[in-house]
């Protein structure tokens, strides 16, 4: 099994954080320009898309308890090596803790030494820092964390 657990404290409310995680326009601001298509109810299909419409990842909502808990069955779709590792499970837990809201992201897959988990674990800290900045200051981190375009 491969797993990571990332935690961030954001000065916002659980409701606003849930909205930021599930709203398409909000996602585009902090998720490398990507967005997700889903109606966020249990059993509904879920997709992560690039700006150009290509599907990067796809899956199903396993649990949805707004604004507390969301579990996504998540499979990579583009690179065959990562797709072959099968489905992963991503869990968001949202807890009010005094002045801030605690967001815990747990991502787990059965495969040992998973390349998928290694790949997504590198992206999450930037996404979470940007989400925090967006909710606390109204501005996302500049998107220069993306690889530069060939010019």
């Amino acid at each position: 099994m491969s797993q990571f657990v990332y935690v961030t404290y954001i000065r916002t409310t659980p409701k606003k954080l849930w909205h930021a995680l599930t709203d398409t326009e909000f996602q585009r601001k902090y998720w490398f320009g990507m967005h997700q298509e889903c109606d966020w109810t249990k059993g509904s299909s879920w997709k992560m898309l690039f700006e150009d419409g290509r599907v990067a990842d796809a899956g199903t909502i396993l649990e949805s308890d707004p604004p507390h808990r969301l579990v996504i069955q998540w499979q990579h779709e583009l690179m065959s090596e990562l797709k072959a590792e099968g489905v992963s499970r991503c869990t968001y837990e949202i807890e009010a803790t005094g002045s801030a809201t605690k967001l815990t992201v747990t991502h787990v897959i059965d495969a040992e030494g998973s390349k998928f988990i290694a790949a997504v674990s590198g992206g999450w800290p930037s996404i979470l820092s940007s989400l925090k900045s967006l909710l606390e200051t109204g501005e996302a981190m500049p998107a220069d964390i993306r690889p530069p375009k060939k010019g």
């Binding site: 797993q3 657990v5 935690v7 800290p125 940007s130």
Partner: protein
């Protein structure tokens, strides 16, 4: 969750060593983390508590075990705040240089 707590937690060799061990193998129990270390179990427990309070370590219960995970998000916040700025300046300078050279 203050940045002071993050810097204080990182300003100790033993705690950095524990983070290195979690970086090499994530999701370890206290027992696993103590293996081969010249530190008492109590000292490791104390260091882990400081790391957890600084949000550099996150824990999860699995059955009766408590697993420790490295949480790089606060370090990324610091990177974005202190290094991102300089990086952006450097990238802008490089783009300007490229434009100036190519225009000749």
């Amino acid at each position: 969750m203050s940045m002071d707590a993050v810097f204080r937690a990182l300003a100790d060799q033993s705690r950095r060593k524990l983070l290195d061990r979690l970086h090499n193998k994530n999701g370890q129990t206290l027992g696993e983390l103590c293996e081969g270390l010249a530190m008492s179990r109590q000292a490791v427990t104390k260091h882990l508590r400081i790391l957890e309070e600084a949000n550099l370590v996150a824990t999860q219960k699995r059955g009766r075990e408590k697993l420790h995970f490295i949480n790089p998000v606060p370090i990324n916040d610091i990177t974005e705040r202190w290094i991102g700025k300089f990086e952006r300046g450097r990238l802008a300078t490089l783009s300007d240089l490229k434009r100036a050279l190519e225009d000749k």
